[in-house]
């Protein structure tokens, strides 16, 4: 996707008040306190340790830090991560 096309889409989404995650293929991340994290629209796991999970996204990756992290379920559409979450980081 070219940068100009991406900018156009973003403006379109703003203008029509459409959800950006659909038009821009962004992940939708929902946090429930520090216990549960739901990532929709992901591209698979990169690394899974009990203290750190790296999830591949459309652009870059998401690093989840915490203790006793477990994957409550994983499918093509979403990942649900449970445990004691301590931090989130987006990396390119």
């Amino acid at each position: 996707m070219g940068r100009r096309l991406r900018a156009l889409r973003s403006e379109l989404a703003d203008f029509f008040e459409l959800p950006k995650d659909i038009l821009l293929d962004l992940p939708r991340i929902t946090l429930q306190g520090n216990l549960r994290l739901v990532i929709e629209n992901h591209r698979g796991l990169i690394q899974y340790e009990s203290g750190q999970i790296r999830v591949c996204l459309e652009k870059g990756e998401l690093v989840i830090l915490g203790d006793d992290l477990s994957i409550a379920l994983i499918s093509q559409e979403e990942i649900i991560i449970e445990g004691r979450l301590r931090g989130l980081e987006f990396r390119d």
């Binding site: 990169i46 899974y48 477990s70 994957i71 409550a72 379920l73 093509q76």
Partner: protein
Amino acid sequence: MLVLHLWYYLTGYLCLRVEGLALEKFVNLCISRGIYLWGIRRDEGGLVACLGVTNFRLLRPIARSSRCRVKILQKKGIPFYWRHLRGRQVLIGGAFLFFLSLYILGSFLWTIEVTGIVDPARVAQIRAEVEREGIRPGIWKGKIDPERLSRQIILHNPDLAWVNVEIRGTMLVIDAVPKQLQARVGLPCHLVAREEGVIQDLDLLAGEPLVQVGDTVQRGEILIRGSLGGRPIAAQGIVWALIWPEAYGECLREEIEHRRTGSVHRVLILRIGEREFPLPGAGEVPFHLYEKEAEIKRLISWRNLVLPVEAIIITYYEVEEVVHRLSVAEAEERARAAALAKIKSRLSPEARILQEEVKRIPQGSLEKVLVKVTCEVLENIAEPRGFEPEALERERGQQFETRGESQTGGTEQ
């Protein structure tokens, strides 16, 4: 997601242990093949995951390409439980035997109950009659014909108006209603004394009078007999008599009134089924004395379909105690009024109270006043009472006998 888990519970699922270096690759391959994984936990040198039993054969090429070793830890779900249970035939046999014995024991009669009749002698009589029909505890329920039995009981007991025989579980319930002879217009009836008293006036309209002015009558005594030349008729007449009803009345000298102060406290409770959930913010009732009112709100009720969800609004009204102190005379007046009201409730509207006597009964303490009120009342004491026309002849004979005796007694004096 619950539906999916339920589905996997029904079709069976496996808990696996995956060991290897490229565990992430294993997971990614699984999702790209559409294999649903859940409950993934990481531990030393591997991970534990669950998946549906039907997906297990798809795992082999994935494990090979990601160089992981897969080991089954547990097999769960209905098919595995069923397989496990099949090995324990005694357990299945026992469960089957349990339900079978429950069914067999439930198809016999265990108890017989007679309701609706107060007199224990009559109850025993009906029980004996039922037993004579061959119905006793221990017989097979199928042998009982409730309709036939109720007809039999009615036939043999003309004093019963209605009998219903019903099998309720292992219990035979015989519900009977005894006949009550009611004095109705046109049906033969006597006029009997409702109270004991001294007759002052007798206005005869129909029937044979058995009493005279000046007679003292007991309660239930026949005043005017419902017969005309031996033929049963409905007796009619008015019998004025002096009666002396009495009643007690009491009054406390200290009266406590609970008066609402105006401050209220509301609590909302959500009831789902049997459970009650107080909504947050309820807290303790901030009043020392209060009155409680509960209002139940149901969501919708359509026909007899009621949702098991209710909202209960409890309102607490703060109250204060106000003490009224009565003088002895005031308390006595109130007690007298209460006693008089009791007497009046027993009298007919046309009754006339001729005299009233109030007697104060001394109490141990001065806090309570107790009075006894006796009145002299002129009242129509005639009350109709129905009778069976055949009974008239029998009664007639008896009545004459007793009359004759009393007359002879009178002459001797």
